[in-house]
C-alpha cells in the first residue's frame, strides 16, 4: 500500500486497489454471494461499476461493435 501512494495521478493501471474490487462479491444468488470477474461481471444484465470504469462511447457506435473492444483496445488507459 505504501507503494501505491507514490503512484502519479492518472495511472490507474498501476493500482492494485482496483484489483481488490474482484475480492468483493458483486452479486447474490439468493444468499449466495457471487464474485464479479475483474470486478465487472458483464455477463449479468446489470452491473454496478466504478464510474471510472464506465467509458463514454459515441452515440453512433453500435453496441455489437463496441462489445468487441476488449483488452486489446485498452479503453480507459488509452484515452
Amino acid at each position: 500500500m505504501r507503494r501505491l501512494r507514490r503512484l502519479p495521478e492518472g495511472q490507474p493501471q498501476l493500482c492494485l486497489l482496483g484489483l481488490a474490487a474482484s475480492a468483493v462479491p458483486h452479486f447474490k444468488q439468493g444468499d449466495q454471494p457471487l464474485f464479479a470477474f475483474a470486478g465487472t461481471g458483464t455477463f449479468a444484465e446489470e452491473v454496478v461499476v466504478s464510474s471510472q470504469a464506465a467509458i463514454k462511447i459515441p452515440d453512433d457506435v453500435p453496441f455489437d461493435v463496441a462489445s468487441l473492444i476488449g483488452c486489446g483496445v485498452t479503453t480507459e488507459w488509452a484515452r
Binding site: G10, Q11, L14, L17, Q29, L34, T42, Q52, K56
Partner: protein
C-alpha cells in the same frame, strides 16, 4: 449451501446423455463442467448450481478427451446411489474424469497478481465434464439466456414448471438485491457483451479467480443510474479498469 442452491433439475427437464460422438455440438447440446461431482446425486439429476458452460453453441468443438471424461462422469452419475464412489469426492482411482489441467488450478496464484490477494483467490477444485441434452422442443428458455451464472440460476428456480411464471418470480427476487450505485459508482444495463479470452482463462483455471463468479469483463451498456455528482452519460462501455481511487481522469469526454 442454501436450500435453493441444492435444487435440482430432473431427468425429463434436462437430461444426461453420454457423449458418443466427438465433434461439433448439436443445437440441443451443451457441455458443462462442475467443480466436483456432488454427493447424493440420484441418477439423471443435475445440480444446476454447479453448472458452468464450457461450450454450448452449435458448432463448438468437443475434444476427444472431454468426451471421454464426460462419458465416464455420466456413467457415474447414472449409477445407483449405493455406489461408494458417489458418496465421496472423486479420488485418484477415478482420475479419468478429471480435466487434465485441473491440477494446476489448485496451485497458488501466479506471481504478478500480488501476494496480498492470495487469501481471496480460492483454489479451484477438480472439474468434471458432463454433457446435458435438452429435451426437444424445450423452448421455455432461449439459447442466449443459457449463458451466465445468474441466468442459469433463474432457470434453476423455474425448473419445476418451465412454462410458468417461475422465471419472472426469480427475476423480481433478484431485483430486490440490487444495490448501489454508491459514491463514484454507476449502474449500467448491459446492452451487449464480448467474450474475452480472459473469460475462458478464468473459466478453465488459467487465471485463478474467486468463485462462484459472474464472468465478463467489458460490455457496452446504457447507464441506468449514476450516483449523485457523477457525470451524466447514457451510453458507455464498462471496463475492467476496476476504478483506482486515485485516478484523476474523468470518465466521460
Amino acid at each position: 449451501m442454501q436450500t435453493s442452491a441444492k435444487r435440482r433439475v430432473r431427468h425429463e427437464h434436462l437430461g444426461l446423455t453420454v457423449v458418443d460422438d466427438v465433434g461439433d455440438l448439436g443445437a440441443d447440446e451443451v457441455v458443462v463442467d462442475r467443480h466436483e461431482v456432488p454427493t447424493g446425486l440420484e441418477g439423471g439429476e443435475v445440480e444446476l448450481e454447479h453448472r458452468r458452460a464450457v461450450g454450448e453453441h452449435h458448432g463448438d468443438r468437443v475434444t476427444r478427451l472431454q468426451a471421454e471424461r464426460a462419458q465416464a462422469c455420466t456413467s457415474r452419475l447414472a449409477s445407483p446411489r449405493s455406489s461408494p464412489e458417489l458418496t465421496s469426492r472423486p479420488s485418484g482411482s477415478t482420475s479419468a474424469v478429471y480435466v487434465g489441467s485441473s491440477r494446476a488450478m489448485a496451485q497458488k496464484p501466479r506471481s504478478g497478481i500480488g501476494a496480498d490477494t492470495s487469501g481471496w483467490l480460492r483454489p479451484r477444485r477438480e472439474r468434471v465434464l458432463i454433457t446435458l441434452r435438452r429435451s426437444a422442443g424445450h423452448g421455455d428458455v432461449r439459447r442466449r439466456e443459457e449463458t451466465g451464472v445468474e441466468r442459469t440460476r433463474e432457470r434453476c428456480d423455474a425448473s419445476g414448471s418451465p412454462a410458468s411464471g417461475g422465471r419472472r418470480e426469480a427475476r423480481s427476487s433478484r431485483r430486490r438485491h440490487r444495490g448501489g450505485p454508491g459514491p463514484g459508482q454507476v449502474r449500467v444495463r448491459i446492452a451487449a457483451t464480448g467474450v474475452c479470452h480472459s473469460d475462458l482463462s478464468g473459466m478453465n483455471g488459467t487465471i485463478p479467480i474467486a468463485v462462484p463468479a459472474v464472468l465478463g469483463t467489458k460490455a457496452p451498456a446504457r447507464s441506468s443510474a449514476w450516483a449523485p455528482a457523477s457525470p451524466a452519460s447514457r451510453k458507455a462501455i464498462t471496463s475492467s479498469s476496476r476504478g483506482c481511487p486515485r485516478a484523476a481522469t474523468a470518465p466521460t469526454a
